[in-house]
């Protein structure tokens, strides 16, 4: 039996076509409607409500909490202010990424770490000899992501918190219609949005309050399909899709460093010792062998491949997650790991790993596409990520 999120009693009645999927051992909705179009549209036009409870969540407290986390992650925890959130990867000693997630500093000695994969053992291995308590809150906390241009208006109807002062990547404790919550100005959509962390016992009243306050603003419960399209547009990577954890990869070639998955910006050059520091310093000096970039597939070329069969171009309304080879001048120079039709940009997009020196923005490449059972190549251009970056995201 897969686990059920604390919001399951509400979400399960909404999944009209029984489109469920697994996410970190949970049974979660792919979409509530048979198709995700409206759920996706809400992310970019109104507000979408995602149940993101399957994220692993750890509360790390004590005198050495900051020390532990500074050893763990690639960003400088000594610079993380109370009420601030980092998005960060963390690595093994060889500098290969283990996982990525957010780290919130709730007070001087209290942190909350989220991760895609279970981090219990890794946290304890790193905490040896430190005065620190690690609590797994994964099942005790429910999490919702309220994402979209009207997310702020909806929360404002429920909370005494001055949301104008809760800046991008900041977190605060407050109440939503009297329910004790933590609210962070974060998300996985590249849009204006919040994530809300609540005791599982209060999950249902919180869901109801958000739906009620959100209805006049067009709130739409949304599932993983809509989230997937939004995160690709936002150029956000996904564990086990775009990269593999160094702890799970069966072969060395499947591991990536932060520089190789476009997270080089999150590797501190000046901080104290941390996992992978030496390897990453060396890589910084010599330059990464791989780049993780966006690909924009040229529509006329894509359309021509279909027109040869008298077909209109096929556009899936769900993002794809299969590996597609990428070529330049006839040789394979990398592979795309996920992609989608972007309804807001009206473009075919993909996220791809490309070998040096082929990943400079503007480079013309070709990506494999299957057209009428035949493997063809469509023209594509390398783009810097994110593809979609509205001002309101940080405003």
């Amino acid at each position: 039996m897969l686990k059920k999120s604390p919001f399951h009693p509400r979400t399960s009645t909404l999944v009209r076509a029984q489109t469920w999927r697994r996410w970190a051992g949970y049974q979660m909705a792919s979409a509530y409607d048979p198709h995700p179009d409206r759920e996706y549209a809400a992310v970019r036009s109104a507000a979408a409500l995602f149940d993101v409870s399957p994220l692993h969540k750890y509360l790390i407290t004590g005198r050495d909490a900051a020390r532990l986390l500074d050893r763990l992650i690639t960003r400088d925890v000594t610079k993380l202010k109370v009420g601030q959130v980092y998005y960060t990867p963390w690595c093994d000693v060889a500098g290969k990424v283990v996982d990525d997630g957010t780290l919130s500093r709730l007070d001087e000695r209290t942190f909350r770490l989220t991760s895609a994969d279970s981090s219990w053992r890794w946290l304890h291995m790193n905490a040896a000899g430190m005065e620190v308590a690690i609590e797994d809150l994964s099942e005790r906390l429910g999490s919702l992501a309220l994402q979209g241009p009207l997310a702020r208006e909806i929360l404002a109807a429920l909370t005494p918190l001055d949301l104008a002062r809760l800046k991008y990547f900041r977190v605060a404790r407050t109440t939503l219609r009297g329910i004790d919550v933590w609210v962070s100005r974060t998300g996985y959509t590249g849009d204006l949005g919040y994530e809300i962390w609540v005791d599982a016992a209060s999950a249902l009243p919180l869901w109801d309050a958000l739906i009620e306050a959100g209805t006049p603003y067009g709130i739409v419960p949304a599932g993983v399909w809509a989230l997937d399209t939004a995160r690709i547009e936002a150029g956000l990577i996904m564990l086990d899709v775009d990269y593999f954890s160094a702890h799970h990869a069966l072969i060395e070639a499947r591991k990536s460093t932060p520089f190789e998955i476009n997270l080089g910006w999150a590797v501190s050059a000046g901080k104290g010792p941390f996992n992978g520091r030496r390897a990453l310093a060396a890589e910084r000096a010599r330059g990464a062998a791989w780049g993780f970039v966006g690909l924009e597939i040229a529509w006329p070329s894509f359309e021509r491949l279909f027109a040869a069969h008298k077909l209109p171009p096929h556009i899936a309304n769900v993002a794809w997650r299969v590996s597609a080879p990428v070529y330049r001048a006839g040789s394979q120079i990398g592979y795309a790991t996920s992609g989608c039709w972007s309804p807001i940009l009206k473009k075919q997009l993909a996220l791809a790993h490309l070998k040096r020196p082929h990943f400079a923005p503007g480079t013309a490449v070709e990506m494999e596409v299957t057209v009428e059972h035949r493997r063809m190549r469509a023209d594509a251009t390398v783009r810097a990520l994110p593809f979609f970056d509205p001002e309101r995201k940080k405003a």
């Binding site: 409206r38 209109p312 556009i315």
Partner: protein, 527 residues
């Protein structure tokens, strides 16, 4: 004469004029758009008619906008954002309803409830319409060649067209021919048996046209509404975030990005012509602006008889334009509502409120609505296409309140005795009264009502006789005959004076193809 001189001036900031300007500017031409109203868009405008309530005042949904324009002008970057319009619900007189939902399986089951035959036929019909849209697509992207001409350009076009038609195969070519000539009701009779389904589908065949569903030629108008393409899916209709004005703003944004200048509140009085050549324009204010090219985005009547002296033109052209049919047949009612209408057939809040509600209970209902119009009255029981934009884009109305957009047909431009304020209100009353038969709480929700007759559409936008397509989509005024024979390739007899509005091929709807093709034709010629 003002000191500034332009390569091209576009008269009229409707969406086609803006598209033409954007393409010219993109090619490096110094371009100016002159719009008489304080905002661009023509019939694709969003206005806050009532405080807090925004309306797509005239044109209200989008499907036909050419994907190549979206791509080439990168309109998403300038604000194009199309939201899904999910369903069409037709309330029936027996209290039941007919629905087309977002999901094809749900739609098929819904149809099966009314007619198992039609449920299957709809799938086959959809397949044929797909082929028809594929068949028409290259024509939409083509500068129309004249079959009687021997010029190399025309011959090349004809050859391309001939090859294309041959490639369609017999079955599809014959189907296309039938669609070009039949009435939509006759055509649909060949496919379906459930009358409300035929009525609802045939409604696409009368929109913007002074024809009934049983009038020959209406099947083409039906096809015209099937050839839209959103995200690669034919026949998909959507709602632009912020209303249709935001589409115009996006195109204007692209035009400005490429360097075009856009002046609003700048009505053009006439095009300056010297020795048979356009030399610029004169605003009604008296200001004159020089340009090497002048493009008119206005309809053929204004283009050929208002902006220039008809004596500059050959008599057969003037005569052709005089005979060109406008015959505006539709009106628009925009309502600000304090809450949601409650439809008797589908009570409460449901997905139907995020789609279209079509008042088309039977073919006879539509044909009778046309009968009223034939004899000079507005329909007492009109065809209506209603949407609640605020249910799709909550920004259109204050939270919890709503806007309702009602396309109404028939409202003849040539009303017996002419349109007056009293008749406009009586028309608005007929609309609300008819709708309230299906949603009884509607009258109690109305905070504000804007009623637009074809005469109002003409007064506000300039569209002659209030025709939303700049002239009917009738076979005798399509393709190489649009607007008139010999002058279908966007040019005019006046050197340097061009047409780029929907009165040229392929015409009507927020399509932009006329503006793009006109610009491409201009850019093909040596400077």
């Amino acid at each position: 004469m003002s000191a500034e001189r332009y390569d091209a001036i576009v008269v009229g900031g409707g969406h086609n004029g803006l598209v033409a300007a954007a393409y010219l500017a993109r090619a490096g031409r110094k371009t100016l758009v002159l719009e008489k109203r304080p905002l661009v868009g023509g019939a694709a405008v969003t206005e806050e008619v009532f405080p807090g309530f925004k309306f797509s005042v005239f044109s209200y949904v989008v499907s036909l906008l050419r994907p190549e324009i979206v791509r080439e002008l990168d309109l998403p970057r300038h604000g194009l954002q199309i939201l899904p319009l999910e369903s069409t619900v037709t309330p029936l007189d027996n209290g039941d309803y007919l629905a087309g939902w977002a999901d094809p399986d749900e739609t098929r089951e819904e149809l099966r409830r009314h007619s198992p035959h039609d449920a299957d036929a709809a799938v086959a019909f959809g397949r044929l319409m797909h082929h028809m849209a594929m068949a028409v697509k290259p024509i939409l992207e083509m500068i129309p060649p004249d079959p009687t001409s021997l010029s190399p350009g025309d011959l090349r076009g004809l050859l391309k067209l001939g090859k294309h038609f041959r490639s369609l195969g017999q079955e599809h070519f014959h189907a296309l021919h039938k669609l070009m000539t039949m009435s939509s009701a006759d055509y649909l009779d060949e496919w379906f048996e459930f009358d409300p389904l035929k009525a609802t589908k045939s409604a696409s065949g009368i929109i913007g046209t002074f024809l009934g569903p049983r009038s020959p030629g209406s099947a083409y108008v039906l096809l015209h509404h099937y050839m839209g393409e959103i995200d690669g899916a034919f026949r998909a209709w959507g709602f632009q975030k912020g209303g249709t004005g935001a589409i115009s703003e996006a195109i204007a944004g692209a035009a400005r990005h490429f360097g075009a200048r856009i002046r609003t509140d700048a009505p053009v009085g006439r095009v300056l012509v010297k020795n048979g050549r356009a030399t610029g324009v004169a605003l009604t204010s008296g200001e004159e602006i020089a340009a090497s090219l002048v493009l008119s985005g206005l309809d053929p009547r204004l283009t050929f008889t208002r902006l220039v002296e008809p004596r500059e033109l050959p008599e057969d052209l003037v005569e052709g334009v005089r005979r060109y049919k406008f015959r505006g047949s539709s009106g628009k009612v925009n309502l600000a509502l304090s809450g949601l209408p409650d439809f008797t057939c589908l009570p409460g809040r449901g997905p139907h409120l995020r789609g279209a509600v079509s008042i088309s209970p039977s073919l006879e209902y539509l044909e009778r609505a046309y009968d009223d119009a034939k004899y000079g009255a507005f329909s007492r029981r009109p065809y209506m296409d209603c949407i609640l934009p605020s249910m799709i884009d909550p920004g259109m109305a204050p939270p919890g309140q709503h806007v309702m957009s009602i396309f109404v047909q028939y409202a003849p431009y040539e009303l017996e005795g002419g349109w007056s304020e009293a008749k406009r209100e009586a028309f608005g009353d007929a609309v609300v009264e008819t709708l309230s038969r299906y949603a009884p709480n509607l009258p109690s929700l109305i905070l504000h009502r804007q009623v637009l007759t074809p005469a109002d559409i003409e007064t506000i936008t300039g569209l002659s006789e209030g025709n939303i397509f700049q002239g009917e989509l009738a076979l005798q005024q399509l393709f190489f005959l649009r607007p008139v024979p010999r002058w279908a390739r966007y040019r005019t007899p006046i050197e340097g004076y061009w047409q780029c509005g929907a009165g040229t091929h392929p015409g009507g709807g927020i399509m932009g193809a006329s503006g793009r093709l006109a610009a491409l034709e201009i850019l093909q010629r040596p400077r």
